[in-house]
Amino acid sequence: MAVTLKVNGASRTVPAEPDTPLLYVLRNDLELNGAKFGCGLSQCGACTVLVDGKAVRSCVTDIGSLGGAEITTLEGLGTADKPHPLQRAFIGEQAAQCGYCINGMIMSAKALLDRNARPSEDDVRQALAANLCRCGTHNRIIRAVLRAANEMGRT
């Protein structure tokens, strides 16, 4: 079987069954590292990507269900040389320890800022309530999202 997906603006055909979770295709076929396997149960948020702008758990999203939807991964936001304001803010706040959860934090924050450009601190906390962090980087993550919102609001 082969399935065609639209990932970070490009059309990609992958040799996988339609019931394959998007996460494995992103990581293994498209060699995108951003989305991480954390639980496979939609509980931790490490695998979050955007599907048509909405934060979605790629570990429980079958590729066969996606049709022509626009999939955006962490790599689709920016690069180390040209980071997205969210990525720049996370680097600026040094908002990672092990960093394994950070993909999910940034992608969930992206979905938040797209629907609410001026979130309060509480908005940020609530938007990230289902993204687990184990190192205790919570406050730096919250500060980074608010900083990005601030910077994006200025331009």
Binding site: R27, Q126, G136
Partner: protein, 735 residues
């Protein structure tokens, strides 16, 4: 002194006296003790090489676990070498390349690897200056180095690149070149951004999970329903029929599968699990009586801290209390993973183990390979916080790779593999009893702690110490577990009070049998012991009618301990004698981690929803003294992370099990602190540039649990002595 006499002649001359000496000829060459990890890795080029372009490659046996250690060690090396940070590249944790520094654990990397690098780099710089001296026609002492260029006051200069070809660092370190005085530091002490963060934020391959080798295939393992079960039969037909499946691997009760694609391996794992017939291992203990059960097991009793003075019998008030801490999981966000490749009788394993050398020894022993044929290369994983599944998954991957020679096998555990099989932080009981004199001073302190081992890591016993080894057709068996000795201690870590009590007795009951698999979780026993003893300090303060801060200071002589307690009280605006209002209160906790490392005091403010039984740790203040600070932002991150992790342990965490097995198998039955619950935190660092750096990666967890427990008691007037503070327990306490 020259020792040329042979042993017998020498002995004849001295008669029986000689028996008192170790008269080995090797005595003559007895090695000088070198500081830090230099002692076990004595050659300079084991640590530092100067490259032809004048940059430096720095080797460390310590590894990045998300704690920022590689950045901090690079800062130390760059500082002493007088090189810009960008021209120092770091190689860490590789049995083929780096020094063996054992485990990256116990907040010891700055103390051991940092000390070694500081001295080695200072010595290398000095060697370079001596080489430069004839070229610039001036004594080495008169020369300075600016960004890798040796500069002479006479205007001449020579670069490290020009000296690189003639420098020979294959010589033993002497540790005699003094590192820079702290007043000259330009890189040490700076909040240098972490080297690894930009890659992690933008999706660059940063983890072993991201490693892709040519021709790589995917593995999964099938674990039994509970500990000690044996695989009686498995029908492989269904699994083998799944497209892409390359091999079903069975060795005794070890069962795994290798497939072309990851999702195929996962499907095959399900098929194998459904058809596997297990003879179940022994039942687990009854969770309702777990502490009594553990105490009923044979113990090794050690009296570890005794002080004796005449007691003034002025009708002392005697208090007694018992505290408990449940099994807790490391609960890494990413399940453990490894990539293994078996080729031409050589095995390479990419692993996020905390100790690549001990892991190599275990893998070699289990797979009967010569250690020289096994190479373990550290590649970061999800944060581990101690001994999680990292080593186990590495052996699993190696066993699968051996079945498909030439094909690299990537194996990431599934969520339930990690939760149900990782070695937990042990359940512990603590019993405290103390007497107050008429003036409200503690005159007698008795403390006992019961715990399993806190280290069953690779090479911790003489037997097999990695999970799969116990389940092979020819199984390895674990040896007798031990406890790290005092002063650092294991289950007894931080059980000896730092306060100045005239009489004290501390007893460690070490329980050898482990009905539930346990090992090192961040802080080992310190979290539980600081919870118990600092809770008890508040109970005594209350009985003495004293304010908790004043009561601590009245019993504390150590100036650096007093300083963090006073500082945090000041930061929090602590009001002596302030009572909680039933729902809101404040508490303090203090510890000097391991009684050897950083000094940390925490004040926590809690809010209690009495109807729901929930506790919010809304705010925390913290003062930390870790001696000379290498990277203040990194240190703050570690201390803050520790506070939040400890709040999570304290409010939520407990591994659930019943007689049939482990029940905490995903996040729904092992909840952790979420983003909305994170406290607001203020941290002050007391930098002491003239004191040596003290480990701080585990410094704040103990003080935090104590501060939260004391804040709860302050708020409600009720004391909870059993962790965690979950709603049923809170509601029961409030009545």
């Amino acid at each position: 002194m020259t020792i040329s006499l042979n042993r017998r002649d020498f002995a004849k001359g001295l008669g029986g006296v000689v028996l008192a000496f170790t008269l080995d000829p090797a005595l003559a060459q007895q090695q000088k003790q070198l500081p830090g990890s230099l002692n076990g890795n004595r050659m300079l080029d084991a640590w530092i090489r100067i490259n032809p372009d004048g940059s430096a490659t720095v080797f460390t046996g310590k590894v990045e676990l998300g704690q920022g250690i590689i950045t901090a060690l690079a800062q130390i090396a760059a500082e002493e070498l007088d090189l810009p940070l960008a021209r120092v590249s770091m190689i860490s944790g590789d049995t083929g390349r780096t020094p063996n520094e054992g485990q990256t654990a116990g907040s010891q990397s700055i103390e051991n690897s940092g000390t070694a690098l500081r001295l080695a780099a200072a010595e290398v710089r000095h060697i370079l200056l001596e080489l430069a001296s004839p070229r610039v026609q001036l004594d080495a002492d008169a020369l300075t180095v600016i960004d890798g260029v040796v500069v002479s006051p006479n205007g001449k200069s020579v670069t490290y690149a020009e000296l690189a070809a003639s420098v020979d660092l294959h010589r033993e370190a002497t540790a005699t070149v003094r590192p820079k005085p702290t007043g000259m530091h330009k890189i040490i002490g700076q909040p240098i951004p972490r080297l690894d963060i930009p890659g992690k934020i933008t999706g660059k391959a940063s983890y072993v999970q991201d490693l892709r080798r040519p021709g790589m295939v995917h593995g999964r393992v099938v674990r039994p329903p509970r500990y000690g079960s044996t695989l009686e039969a498995v029908d492989e037909t269904k699994a083998r029929a799944i497209p892409g499946v390359i091999a079903v691997v069975r060795d005794g009760s070890f069962l795994g599968v290798v497939a072309e694609r990851e999702e195929q391996a996962i499907k095959a794992r399900v098929a194998l699990a459904e058809s596997a017939k297990w003879k179940l291992g022994p039942e687990l203990p009854d969770p309702a009586n777990i502490f009594a059960h553990l105490k009923s097991l044979p113990t090794k009793v050690e009296v570890i801290g005794v002080k004796q003075a005449p007691v003034l019998a002025s009708a002392p008030k005697v208090l007694e209390a018992t505290y408990t801490k449940p099994y807790m999981a490391h609960a890494s966000i990413g399940p453990s993973a490894a990539v293994a490749e078996f080729k031409d009788d050589k095995l390479t394993v990419w692993t996020h183990s905390q100790g690549v050398f001990p892991l190599r020894a275990e893998i070699a022993k289990t797979m009967t390979l010569p250690p020289a044929s096994v190479r373990c290369i550290h590649t970061e994983g999800s944060g581990c916080y101690g001994h999680n599944g990292a080593d186990d998954v590495a052996l699993d991957a190696a066993l699968l790779a051996r079945a498909v020679p030439g094909k690299p096998v990537r194996l990431q555990w599934m969520r339930d593999d990690e939760f149900a099989w990782e070695p937990y932080g042990p359940a512990m009981s603590m019993q405290a009893k103390a007497s107050l004199d008429g003036e409200g001073r503690i005159v007698d302190w008795n403390y006992e702690v019961w715990s399993n081992s806190h280290s069953t890591r690779p090479q911790s016993t003489t037997g097999a110490n990695v999970l799969a080894a116990w389940y092979l057709a020819e199984p390895g068996k674990m040896g007798s577990p031990t406890s790290p000795p005092q002063p650092a201690g294991g289950g007894d870590r931080n059980s000896i009070p730092l306060y100045d009590f005239p009489n004290q007795r501390v007893v460690h009951h070490f329980i050898q049998d482990m009905p539930i698999r346990v090992s090192a979780l961040r802080t080992l026993g310190a979290y539980a012991n600081v919870f118990a003893s600092e809770s008890f300090m508040d109970e005594l303060a209350l009985a003495a009618g004293a304010d908790p801060v004043a009561f601590r200071l009245a019993h504390m002589k150590e100036p650096r301990a007093r300083a963090v307690i006073e500082k945090v009280a000041d930061m929090a605006g602590w009001k002596p004698g302030q009572k909680g209002d039933g729902t809101r209160g404040r508490g303090i906790g203090f510890a000097k981690y391991k009684n050897l490392a950083c000094y940390v005091a925490v004040v926590a403010e809690v809010e209690i929803d009495r109807a729901k039984g929930t506790v919010c740790v809304c705010r925390a203040w913290c003062a930390t003294d870790a001696g000379l600070v290498i990277n203040p932002d990194g240190l703050i991150g570690q201390i803050e992370g520790g506070i939040i992790q400890s709040a999570s342990w304290t409010l939520h965490e407990e591994v659930k099990f019943d007689r049939n097995g482990i029940l905490s198998r995903d996040w729904s039955n092992y909840p952790i602190l979420t983003m909305p619950e994170a406290p607001q935190i203020a941290i002050a660092l007391i930098n002491r540039p003239t004191e040596r750096s003290l480990g701080a990666g585990e410094g704040s967890q103990g003080p935090t649990v104590a501060a939260v427990a004391n804040a709860f008691a302050n708020a409600t007037g009720k004391r909870i002595r059993d962790l965690p503070f979950h709603p049923e327990r809170v509601k029961a306490a409030l009545g």
